[in-house]
């Protein structure tokens, strides 16, 4: 990792992940214990949009395979894509909304969000996904595998903060 990131208050993190409370619950321990982070969990696309519209975050950790939640728009997208999280890739659609969303989406993306706020944390690791993330300008990517340390979320957050620091010069 590069230069130190100076923090004066808690880093605000949004983790968009439908398995956060269960299969991946061991990953949140270091975040809560450290006391350095204020973390919200969004377990579906609808909740993610609501959090992003109501708060400003320093880091957004984004899964690709997400359920739609209760919003009609996301339910429709999900149904149109065969009602399968892997095919629907609503996480990618959320990133699209954040960065290309003004023309295409029925709701406005937050003005504060930039590509350097986002890190993708997913089991997917195919060339198509990387191409799409490149197009969107998202540079922080972490493949979700069984061999990761339980501090992986902190690592991703640090990489996102580094990205911001270098982007801002």
């Amino acid at each position: 990792m590069g230069g130190a990131v100076v923090k004066t208050e808690k880093t605000k993190v949004l983790w968009v992940e439908d398995s956060a409370r269960l299969e991946l619950r061991n990953l949140t321990g270091p975040i809560y214990i450290s006391g350095d982070y204020h973390m919200n969990l969004a377990e579906d696309a609808t909740s993610a949009v609501r959090y992003l519209q109501s708060q400003v975050y320093d880091a957004i950790i984004l899964d690709m395979r997400l359920p739609p939640g209760i919003d009609d728009y996301w339910i429709r997208v999900y149904q149109d894509r065969g009602e399968d999280k892997a095919d629907a890739r609503l996480g990618l659609e959320l990133a699209n909304w954040m960065f290309n969303g003004r023309a295409k989406f029925p709701f406005t993306p937050p003005a504060w969000v930039r590509q350097y706020h986002v890190g993708v944390f997913t089991v997917e690791n195919d060339a198509d996904l990387h191409a799409r993330l490149d197009e969107l300008g998202i540079r922080v990517f972490q493949h979700k595998t069984a061999g990761l340390a339980d501090t992986i979320l902190i690592d991703i957050i640090m990489r996102i903060l580094q990205e911001q620091a270098s982007d801002r010069g």
Partner: protein, 503 residues
């Protein structure tokens, strides 16, 4: 338009080259004598005028022509002609598959002088068929691979489960007598107790010496950390927003405290307070670990079943078909309950069997056992505890009855809802589909169980019915955000014809 029908005589000089099918005539050595517009289009020849082309130049493999001629001669000797022979040609570098209908032309002495025939471009359907064949072969390969991998994974899961059992046994004395996952409320009560004991112990440690001795024992940073951990232990429910993460987070915290304890320089702090921190940290870590191991064990048992049923499903049509025979429904359900017993125990769920009489059906035992086990597995998996005090185990009920010469095998559970539209649109029966609410509390699944159950039922002349509705009358407004948060009664019923002459 004229009302007078055209006289057929006007067609006596019809030019057969106008037929909407490829018509051709070649010499014995393959030169085109005649080729109508369709053949010319197929072979990208000039559409008008004299032809200067040889069919031989279009054969993908020139040796095929000799074989085709030999076949045409053989058929001619039998008074037949080539009917739907498939020729693989090459036009502008691309494959062209044609269906050929052809007969030989002979001179007065009976010598073969050429061929006349029709050809139809079947490239598209031929390619589709070939593609289908390739896909079928690929599916067969995959099926073999998947079966093998799943088998290997099952073996690994057996190893994992046995190891977890041994680990749980090593947690003696343990607060729970059996190996089932304790209820969240019980876990929370115990965690709070252990967390408070640890916080008290750390506070006593901090008061046990003056500042100078404290700083000789540990760094200022470590003391600050410990101070922060005391607050965390006291307020863990506020600091950790998701109760599911309580054990894992407190385990991590206790482990950190253990590491700080190990760094204490001896001789500076009261020995008994140091030991108390060590013991209480160990107790909290141990308890949280036990809960995590019990949950992991339950997940492994569930995964084992999921993999087993996936393997069964994938390899179904590769097995030899066994003729249907008389089967006792009670014995089938006994066997399913036996298969599910450990899984049900791991989740503290009882299987309540009602009205299971001596009824007989005709069927394939293996397929029916798989399908019924899937339905029972789902009923267990999607159950919540029913009593508000959460002292009694949850239960699922299995009931059989006969209505209009049909055996109804009904599995009922109380817990996770299935959305109305998912039932009405038949989504729940689609292969690979998992109900929108089915991931509630991390439940694993493949989306195969109901699909397979319906296929099996239909193969036995039966069907599967699903209904799911709120368990209480209170909240009936489907648009309410809370509607699908309440417990639902879900019934899945396999309906099969009663065997003739059955009891």
């Amino acid at each position: 338009m004229s009302n007078t029908p055209p006289l057929l005589e006007q067609f006596t000089n019809f030019d057969f080259r106008e037929l909407p099918i490829g018509v051709y005539m070649t010499s014995l050595d393959g030169r085109f004598i005649v080729a109508n517009r369709i053949v010319r289009e197929m072979l990208k020849l000039p559409l008008e005028g004299r032809l200067d082309a040889n069919i031989l130049q279009y054969y993908a493999n020139p040796a095929d022509r000799d074989a085709a001629i030999a076949e045409a001669k053989r058929l001619a000797a039998e008074g037949k002609h080539v009917d739907r022979g498939i020729l693989r040609l090459k036009v502008a570098g691309k494959d062209l598959f044609v269906e050929d209908y052809c007969k030989i032309l002979q001179d007065a002495e009976g010598q073969v002088i050429g061929f006349v025939g029709c050809m139809v471009d079947i490239t598209q359907s031929y390619e589709s068929r070939r593609h289908e064949q390739e896909l079928r072969e690929r599916v067969d390969e995959l099926r073999f691979d998947i079966g093998r991998i799943l088998h290997a994974n099952t073996t690994t899961l057996v190893m994992v489960k046995q190891t977890l059992d041994a680990v749980i046994e090593a947690f003696e004395p343990k607060p729970y007598r059996d190996m089932s996952v304790p209820h969240a409320q019980e876990v929370e009560t115990a965690l709070t107790e252990y967390a408070n004991l640890l916080a008290n112990a750390i506070e006593r440690l901090m008061r046990s010496a003056d500042e100078q001795r404290r700083l000789q024992a540990l760094t200022a940073a470590d003391w600050k950390k410990l101070q922060g951990y005391v607050s965390f232990l006291r307020e863990y429910k506020e600091r950790i927003p998701t109760p599911e993460s309580f054990p894992a987070t407190l385990r991590k915290l206790a482990n950190d405290i253990g590491r700080i304890h190990a760094a204490i320089v001896p001789g500076n702090l009261a020995r008994e307070t140091v030991r108390e921190v060590q013991n209480t940290a160990w107790q909290l870590e141990r308890f949280a670990n036990l809960v995590e191991v019990l949950e992991t064990r339950a997940a492994v048992i569930q995964m084992d079943y999921t993999i087993h049923s996936l393997r069964e499903f994938v390899t179904t049509d590769k097995r030899e078909q066994i003729p249907f025979r008389h089967l006792n429904v009670k014995s089938l359900i006994d066997e399913c309950a036996k298969r599910m017993a450990e899984y049900a125990r791991s989740l503290k769920i009882d299987i309540d069997r009602r009205d299971v009489g001596e009824l007989f059906i005709m069927g394939n035992e293996r397929d029916l056992l798989r399908a019924l086990s899937n339905l029972l597995h789902n009923a267990i998996k999607y159950s919540w505890r029913r009593d508000p005090e959460r002292t009694k185990p949850a239960w699922v009920s299995v009931r059989t009855f006969v209505r209009e010469k049909q055996v109804h095998i009904e599995f009922e559970n109380w817990g996770v809802p299935i959305k109305r539209e998912e039932i009405e649109r038949g989504k729940v029966f689609e292969l690979g589909y998992r109900g929108e609410l089915s991931k509630d509390r991390g439940r694993l699944g493949t989306g195969i169980g109901l699909t397979d159950a319906r296929r099996v039922a239909e193969a036995h002349g039966g069907r599967v019915e699903v209904e799911s509705h709120p368990a209480f009358r209170g909240l009936q407004d489907e648009k309410s955000a809370q509607y699908y948060s309440q417990p639902f009664l879900t019934k899945v019923t396999m309906i099969l014809p009663l065997a003739d002459g059955a009891k």
